[in-house]
């Protein structure tokens, strides 16, 4: 448990929250077996009113607790993969721009700027409108708008590493420029980029939730965003249907932020 001891209280709180969420996601098929979109009881049961439906049921009689559990799967899946894709695209573009320099740098940075100028959410919306909603296309659409920060950070780091001795050594060894860029420079520049992971995951969770709230999420999966949207139609009679999945969202994003802050503190303590 050295990892646990390295963290401050913020990091520990975040790690605990995410561990619980991960367990919820993994065990969802056993805790709440069957299709979470199936009708299992009377519609609009209040929370804690029935033993079979702890958090009640929605407008159509679907179990809220089961939806919440299965929604964790979608949220974590989409968020983690799109953050990973964004970091990979960003660090490749940033390494190329920083290492090649000159015209390639100018072109790549103008493209990065263009992606930053268009709101990430609009980019995701546009991509979904072309590809149609499914988990892989959602991952692609979200990372389309979130890779730019990683590109900028990697480029800055690569520029600072460019004149180091190990790069010169690799050059004298006869390595080709691209080989140096990706085998020598990128692994050393990846640290600061990886510290963006928490921000990327949090951003991806919020974009995915907003997309599925607007009805552009995967229609065959339960998501917290779609549960909030579903509850919105009966907001006056049953506000908890929208409020409960929203709380899950807030807790998840908060957990990610806390863990991210905890990790960045430990990095500073142990150079």
């Amino acid at each position: 448990m050295t990892f646990w001891r390295m963290l401050n209280w913020e990091g520990r709180a975040g790690a605990a929250v995410l561990a619980v969420l991960l367990l919820m996601a993994l065990l969802a098929p056993w805790i709440a077996p069957g299709d979470p979109l199936a009708i299992t009881g009377e519609p609009m049961l209040r929370p804690f009113a029935s033993g079979a439906h702890i958090l009640g049921t929605d407008r159509l009689g679907r179990d809220v607790f089961a939806g919440l559990l299965h929604g964790t799967r979608t949220t974590l899946l989409v968020a983690c993969f799109s953050a990973a894709v964004a970091l990979v695209i960003g660090s490749v573009v940033g390494t190329l721009a920083g290492y090649l320099g000159g015209f390639a740098d100018t072109v790549l940075m103008r493209i990065t700027e263009a992606f930053q100028t268009v709101p990430a959410f609009l980019l995701a919306l546009a991509a979904i409108s072309v590809t149609g909603p499914s988990v892989p296309t959602l991952i692609f659409a979200i990372s389309l708008g979130t890779w730019t920060q990683a590109a900028r950070v990697t480029r800055a780091e690569v520029l600072s590493l460019h004149e180091r001795d190990f790069v010169a050594a690799a050059r004298t060894l006869g390595m080709r420029p691209l080989e140096i860029a990706f085998r020598e420079v990128l692994p050393n520049a990846f640290g600061p980029t990886a510290s963006l992971a928490a921000i990327s995951v949090a951003a991806a969770i919020l974009i995915e939730a907003a997309l599925s709230f607007l009805g552009f999420g995967d229609p065959n999966r339960v998501t917290w965003g779609s549960m909030i949207a579903e509850g919105r139609t009966v907001l006056r009679a049953a506000p908890y249907l929208s409020i409960v999945p929203g709380i899950a969202l807030v807790v998840t994003v908060l957990g990610v932020h806390l863990l991210g802050r905890g990790l960045s503190r430990t990095e500073r303590l142990q150079p």
Partner: protein, 326 residues
């Protein structure tokens, strides 16, 4: 050349390539979308045989290669023609111009409130780093930063519009109220309170944190020690020196967040049924209106560029070290 003119020219020189990339990107999107303008025309007009369809494609230049189509698309854009919205059956430009003011107002008020309240609370927290007030505000802002705007909007609706009935549930003004002048402005103001709050809260938390973190760094600077040695009052050091230096990164962030806020307005406007520019994007996707979606993307890029230009001008006014034109 006056410094301001050369500043604008230099900014234009970097903005044009960026806009060109956005343009190419949106053209590629248009190409990737299934169906073209003729398809949607045929779908609306009902029956047309294959020969007529082919003739129409030829007339509109859609049977040519992608290079020709791109040239036509770009030259139409250069003349301010954003194309034809199939969902609204009107030119895209006129739909956007009608929707843009509401969103700019929403974003402007939200940005101003988030900036003033956020940085004020940031000063309160950063005046004594490590104090109870600091820890309370820092933790609070971290929690607030995790709240999605659209969900906050729903919660605010439940509390203030459904339960307490203090504020309207949505829309931008009361329908057919016949109000004019001040009464109408007050009506619009009442409609704006909840959407502005749901849009601004995340940024308020962000600016609070930024201000507070920067201030706690500045307290360690030697110049603060020098000010203390000269016997300046604590309040004067906090406000005139530490806070004033710490506000600069917050202003930079204002510009950087313009794009994110525009994205956030898409969902917030949908929650509150505000007929704005943001909701237009969602409507364009839902109604498969690709030309409209591209117009929205292009206009939001232009909006973001202009906002950043204004922020840089303001920055030069506040920080003599980066005066524009030098």
């Amino acid at each position: 050349m006056p410094p301001l003119v050369s500043f604008f020219l230099r900014r234009l020189a970097t903005a044009l390539p960026v806009l060109a990339v956005v343009l190419v990107g949106s053209f590629l999107l248009l190409e990737a979308a299934s169906g073209d303008a003729v398809d949607s025309y045929v779908a609306r007009s009902g029956s047309m045989d294959a020969e007529q369809i082919a003739q129409l494609r030829q007339e509109w230049g859609l049977d040519q290669g992608p290079a020709y189509r791109f040239k036509a698309y770009a030259s139409a854009l250069a003349q301010g023609d954003l194309g034809w919205s199939t969902a609204f059956e009107r030119p895209v430009a006129s739909v956007i111009l009608e929707r843009l003011p509401v969103t700019l107002m929403l974003m402007g008020v939200a940005t101003a409130l988030a900036f003033f309240i956020g940085s004020l609370l940031g000063v309160v927290a950063g005046a004594n780093p490590g104090s109870f007030r600091d820890r309370f505000l820092s933790t609070g802002s971290l929690a607030l930063y995790a709240v999605p705007g659209f969900w906050l909007g729903l919660v605010l609706i439940v509390i203030f519009a459904v339960d307490l009935r203090w504020l309207p549930i949505g829309g931008i003004e009361s329908v057919a109220s016949g109000k004019t002048g001040l009464a109408r402005m007050a009506d619009i103001g009442a409609h704006l309170i909840l959407p502005v709050a749901s849009l601004a809260m995340v940024y308020l938390a962000l600016y609070l944190r930024l201000m507070r973190d920067r201030m706690s760094e500045i307290w360690r600077d030697p110049f603060v020690k020098a000010l203390k040695a000269r016997g300046l009052s604590r309040g004067r050091i906090v406000w005139r020196h530490v806070a004033r230096n710490a506000v600069l990164p917050v202003i930079t962030m204002l510009g950087l967040q313009a794009a994110a806020m525009l994205g956030g307005s898409v969902v917030v406007e949908s929650v509150f049924a505000i007929p704005g520019f943001g909701r237009l994007a969602a409507e364009a996707v839902a109604r498969r209106d690709t030309p409209l979606l591209l117009g929205v993307i292009l206009c939001s890029a232009i909006t973001v560029i202009i906002v950043n230009l204004l922020v840089d001008l303001a920055y030069g006014k506040l920080d003599p070290r980066v005066r524009v034109g030098r």
